[in-house]
Symmetry: C3
Amino acid sequence: MSTLLHPDRLFSANATERDIARALYESISDLPLISPHGHTDPRWFAENENFANASELLVVPDHYVFRMLLSQGLRLEDLGIAPQDGTAESDPRAIWRRFAENYHLFAGTPTRLWLDHTFETLFDLHEPLSRDTADSYFDTINALLAREDYRPRELFERFGIEVIATTESALDDLRWHDQIKDSGWSGRVVTTYRPDAVIDPDFEGFGANLDTFGEITDCDTGTWVGYLDAHRKRRAYFKQRGATATDHGHPTAETANLSPGQAQALFDRVRAGKGGPDDHRLFRAQMLTEMAKISLEDRLVMQIHPGSFRNHSEATFTRFGRDKGFDIPTRTDYVEALRPLLSAAGMDPDFRLIIFTLDESAYSRELAPLAGVYPALRLGPAWWFHDSPEGMRRYRELTTETAGFYNSVGFNDDTRAFPSIPARHDVARRVDSAFLARLVADHRIREDEAFLLIRELSYGLAKKAYRL
Amino acid sequence: MSTLLHPDRLFSANATERDIARALYESISDLPLISPHGHTDPRWFAENENFANASELLVVPDHYVFRMLLSQGLRLEDLGIAPQDGTAESDPRAIWRRFAENYHLFAGTPTRLWLDHTFETLFDLHEPLSRDTADSYFDTINALLAREDYRPRELFERFGIEVIATTESALDDLRWHDQIKDSGWSGRVVTTYRPDAVIDPDFEGFGANLDTFGEITDCDTGTWVGYLDAHRKRRAYFKQRGATATDHGHPTAETANLSPGQAQALFDRVRAGKGGPDDHRLFRAQMLTEMAKISLEDRLVMQIHPGSFRNHSEATFTRFGRDKGFDIPTRTDYVEALRPLLSAAGMDPDFRLIIFTLDESAYSRELAPLAGVYPALRLGPAWWFHDSPEGMRRYRELTTETAGFYNSVGFNDDTRAFPSIPARHDVARRVDSAFLARLVADHRIREDEAFLLIRELSYGLAKKAYRL
Amino acid sequence: MSTLLHPDRLFSANATERDIARALYESISDLPLISPHGHTDPRWFAENENFANASELLVVPDHYVFRMLLSQGLRLEDLGIAPQDGTAESDPRAIWRRFAENYHLFAGTPTRLWLDHTFETLFDLHEPLSRDTADSYFDTINALLAREDYRPRELFERFGIEVIATTESALDDLRWHDQIKDSGWSGRVVTTYRPDAVIDPDFEGFGANLDTFGEITDCDTGTWVGYLDAHRKRRAYFKQRGATATDHGHPTAETANLSPGQAQALFDRVRAGKGGPDDHRLFRAQMLTEMAKISLEDRLVMQIHPGSFRNHSEATFTRFGRDKGFDIPTRTDYVEALRPLLSAAGMDPDFRLIIFTLDESAYSRELAPLAGVYPALRLGPAWWFHDSPEGMRRYRELTTETAGFYNSVGFNDDTRAFPSIPARHDVARRVDSAFLARLVADHRIREDEAFLLIRELSYGLAKKAYRL
């Protein structure tokens, strides 16, 4: 019987390396999943309702999927994504057929690996998805999705998730997290403090956001001191809901460390809506350092995800809104950019800053050298477009020699595509097994070291780095 | 008997991968060559005269060859390249001997692979070129070049070329193309519209070029509207001679999309010779978007080849002129640069923009993410210095996971070195076979997919992308 | 018995490639070491006193070692590095134990390879260093270091060093070099002219340095002409002590070629302490070209090592001073930056400029294309953070296809860690053997070529490039 997944996938074709990789992988493949950074919806786990159907689970919400289809001439409307001025395909079977007919486009992409893994391990499908198998796939998946044991909490347990972090806006009331807690369910779902909406003056509704921020924290966000206090209180609120980390999605990695007087004057300009583009940029930069300083107090781990040019296609943004596949990486500098923040907090081993990049040229040039010396700094894993076999391999090849393994933080699945989570961890564990196997096979590390390391890369480092 | 070419060259040393690669390669090695972008001289095919001798065919005109010899201390004069104020070596045998004596310098370069392929398959030579074999090589090659079946049209057919595109200035009268057509010869040689001389205000004789442009199109190139009409008419003229594409060799990828009034004012300044460097830059940027808009009308495929710093050695440029090996790649940005053009035309699946790079750091960071979402955008293959086994491998490794295979456009030989064309396609087909074999061997794609893909990469995608 | 070093380390796991690599390596593994660029202390060879102990030899002075330990939370003080306002751990055994306990942090780094090589080949140690073996290591190493045959000169001979270059400031009196020469010892230790202290206006004490420079050369360094003469005389002084090269550690690769009048005016401003940051930058740039011009006279080989952001952590710099692991690579441009210097001297085959980079993205984009055409230009090997198996492999993969092997200059160990020198050359020779083996195994070069090339890469090119 044909199967979608080969047991030795992503290992080297060389028998020596493959055998070592297989042994390493088998030693950790059953470890629970630590998912310290992601974007699943906590409401799923709070309400535990069944997912609707294959298309709404796997096609409509997945930007990896629809961006590829769009690139080859399909229309977002035909994939179930409605423009603000119109309607979209409402028949999920029609959407699924379009996707299935074009499944060959994903050859060589991680999306293909993730989906095949989901198809085989979650839905017991074994023939390749294609025009011919579209309907049987659709029916099979829908039938399973309707079952009790395919509801979010049951999947969470089936996937072996030990802990998952979601990401919420600083303005979120975290009701779903409260509901999860109150439900008595044992699954560990924690939140992450994401304050972009109240830090970035270019965010839609920034002024009103700050008003709301003041109301929900009972702080005077009309003043610099009150504004910082609002962050402190809100972070504590998140921490009570399990948060161990903050996350910051800035356009660049720029940080600043102004004097208190300068910072206050900058805040006053920005708060009054009188700041220019340079003020906005500088305010974002300053706030990263402020967040680092508060992390020194409350020990929340800080994550910076810089370097994405958002909504590159204006027409698509106008018609369809955010997150439609048009966020494009840009060149990103770290050495000068991070210096003010690192000068303020980088030498403190109790502070933890995890830095990500979409610019792979910075791995060996800037990020590994920085992470290889600053006590507070750790390197986030290969991210977003680079969360793939080649991307992960390059990450290890380009960072390990300078930063070692212990300045990396294990794997982040970083996804809202819930069923892909086991697949993503599986890919990461296989790629790391293959990488370590190569080091063993050419005698750079010993086999006993590799077994310790694969456990750290698959499980231990993520728990430690995120204080989970 | 020693041979220069091993049948398994460029395949992996791993037996599993090699066997798959060999099978893939054998399935497509006899397919005709599609050469959609190159710089052969149409006069060769129009007149069909024999090439003069080995040195004038293989050494004197090939910048890959003489730049390497120059880098190790040889003089251009001694390689048959005359300075404007002097003379060059006129004995082709002396030139050939200098080249042969230094042939070891090319170890590890693609030039070596191309030349050995030419020596063995075209000239039936089997001993390595060296000082010892220089004369027998020279005599053998010259004897064959004098034969009827080694004339350009006969070589075209021997090489299995289905269609070749040359590149001509917008001011070219395309007489050789007309002569080919009138000759009744069945070989398909098409032109490509290259308007740099009438688009780039820094081009030598730009003002006079625009005058000529007006005369040959009967348009008033003194006005913005007339100038754009001249392009329209000239593109139609090229299209009648088979052109399916335009080509643009700008220093950067910058595009602009000014209002009609701004564009006209800019044209007026530039046309009057009153534009400064920023005007020149902006005019080039604006004209890329204008060309895209006209492509929406006439459906010519648009190619942008940015990022080369031309004539880096002033002394060499002054003495020897252009194209003497001193064009050096520079860092090139695409995300901001292409946005105006992509906003104007990038969402139209009927528009086709093929983008190239000399800055490999942009592959995974910018180009694959852009090509993986914009319907109009395709990625040109590894280009110029990167048209090599390692360069092509990196291209696939760095672009496939995000853009897939179907947003690439097959192979361009991009050469004026006519006899190297089969060798270049052979290298590309082998490297792609080896790449696909690796994906099969580590179970990322199925073998049946790989056979479909190698056919697309070797033949199908180029035809489709260039509408040939 | 367990050993730290496998005879096939760093060769491919593929048997075909490994067997070729092994044969190549064995053909050159006994060749003497050419060390044309490094930072050992000539005083060691002049006085030939025993090294103190394991910690002072291998931990305290090695920034690769202590930066990694620092990154994981250890304090410099606890590693024997004293702050300016305090004291450090004075017990070398305590330092050694801290290092040994954390030796696992170095898995996958070149430091680990170098140290294990030193432990096994120099100190006859065969069990992995760890908390358990810390004391026996410490005692064994110290006992050997106390022996006559472990003194610097005896190690020099044991290591098979044919010639080593040290690096001295232009202001150094070279007394240790004189003492070595006078001693009658046959070891060849040459100096290198490093004039940063009298070229970089931002160097501590620049003005006073120029006064001293005038005194020791008997030139009037108050004038531009006198200042240049001082360089000429000082270079001649270094040349008498064996120097064949100069070395320049600038923040960028920027060069300039001002008119004599402009240069003199710039010098006058800078000399008078009236130059701003742009003047300082321009003066450094101009001086690179001046050094090139003088190299045309005295034939000293010129080396430029650009692109390091020095002392990134201000706090560490203030407390501990320079060279504490906080020099971080930055993005570096070469195409525009080197053009003035290359215009002045780059076409002269008698001039030799060796250029290094910490920005690997420049290898294929800028440096290989430049080195592949300019007669004067050669590419320095993978440097500093990239002096590692993966770094060296990338260097060859990214430069060879465009620049060939003969525009590279062999290996530089670039170290002050004397016992690591054989290990570093061994790694380089193995990585190059493996790289050539891959080219042979996939039939890009012939085996007989590979044997010639490995000899050049391991020995010949360095001697020729540095005129040693």
